[in-house]
């Protein structure tokens, strides 16, 4: 019987570890940039956990520069348990109600994981029909090349994709914008978008990710989620390009967008 030799765990730096992983996966393009992702490991996780502020989180979490925690990669990989994160949140406030919004967001993960275990078929299949006036077959099964390359020509969308590529992370609101643009503006199946996120997000989890895409798509919610440029400007701050002429397809009222994106809503077509 051959003795199995373990893989190395000590590397000079992150670049050397990355080259090792690229060789293992057969993508030996060592010249690629080193991604600016969160540091792995419990030490880094505890440092992030020590900085959480549940009250500030509740007040500002929808803004890209808000007091979001960046705990998601550590929770997703079990480096931190939901139980200990919740307990840390409760220990940081004087009244549990001050941590309620933060703990509710932890509960979303528990909820997705329970669905994953009870109904694994829902992770890649429509939980319900689209509520957009279109059938599932009318959505493209493949991600368009311009989205995959981050070259859609819609400035804020391309910025979100570039951030995803470089950091393996997107603020939740940016995820919602990018998912909505993909499914509703481009009429691409949520599955194609979900695969794109899974391949790039460091916190990628099939349950949280795919069911959230279904929530955006309306196959796991009561209506499709859409947004407009005014909303992006409100939540994203000056680092994101929200100049109207650079984001023409987003620069509409919600009423007009609904007419443009869902012309058959409310009645059968085809």
């Amino acid at each position: 019987m051959n003795e199995t030799i373990p893989l190395p765990t000590k590397f000079a730096d992150r670049a050397a570890m990355l080259a090792h992983l690229r060789a293992l996966s057969g993508h030996d393009d060592a010249a690629s940039a080193i991604p600016d992702i969160a540091a792995g490991g419990r030490t880094a996780a505890e440092a992030v956990l020590a900085r959480i502020d549940p009250r500030a989180y509740a007040a500002t979490r929808n803004h890209l520069d808000g007091a979001v925690t960046r705990l998601s990669p550590y929770i997703r990989h079990g480096i931190l348990s939901l139980d200990e994160v919740r307990n840390a949140a409760l220990a940081s406030v004087s009244d549990p109600k001050q941590a309620e919004k933060f703990i509710q967001e932890l509960a979303w993960r528990d909820y997705w994981q329970r669905i994953y275990l009870a109904h694994p078929e829902r992770i890649w299949s429509d939980v319900e029909s689209y509520k957009t006036g279109f059938d599932a077959a009318e959505y493209d099964a493949e991600l368009p090349a311009d989205i995959a390359a981050g070259e859609t020509g819609v400035a804020c969308i391309d910025q979100f994709i570039a951030t995803l590529f470089e950091t393996g992370y997107l603020h939740n609101h940016a995820r919602m914008y990018l998912a909505s643009y993909t499914v509703h503006w481009r009429r691409v199946s949520w599955q194609a978008g979900a695969r794109f996120f899974l391949e790039h997000l460091v916190d990628a989890d099939p349950a949280s990710n795919n069911l959230s895409w279904q929530w955006i798509a309306s196959t796991f919610s009561n209506k499709p989620y859409i947004f407009n440029l005014e909303n992006v400007a409100k939540y994203c701050g000056p680092d994101i390009n929200t100049i109207p002429r650079h984001n023409l397809v987003l620069d509409q009222s919600y009423e007009r967008l609904s007419e443009l994106l869902f012309p058959y809503m409310g009645g059968p077509h085809g």
Partner: protein
Amino acid sequence: MADLVWLHEGALRLTHPVFAAGGPGAATVFIWDTDRLADSHVGIKRQLFIYETLAEMSESRSLDIHEGRTEEVLPRLAAQSNAGRVLVPSSPDPAVRAKIGAIRRAAPDLEIVEIEDTPFVTMANTPDLGRFFRYWNKAKKSALRPQGI
């Protein structure tokens, strides 16, 4: 006979109950199964994050990373370490569950025990998962007062 702890990417911490179940002498392995990683859409950025985590864990506990197909490598490692049981953190991930099934078929004499993580909430009845707030309305009390204070 000692136990062998088999970690997967959903439970990468030394305080997971799987380690208490295995005891201090249990060897620990992570199988770097490139086919499974690819099938699960684990991109290079996530691979780096996972590997960094494993490397740090290996500094404070005997933990080896082995490359190969899980159902082939794990039974071989169990035999080499004379392990009678394999302990694995329980997971809802069908890919992990499929590998557990494949190991059981490949090595029917090898006992595999799934160890649950510490729960986030406890509820008397199975919650309605149809919409989040139906679940949350049942889970909220336990989530905000985990010790029933």
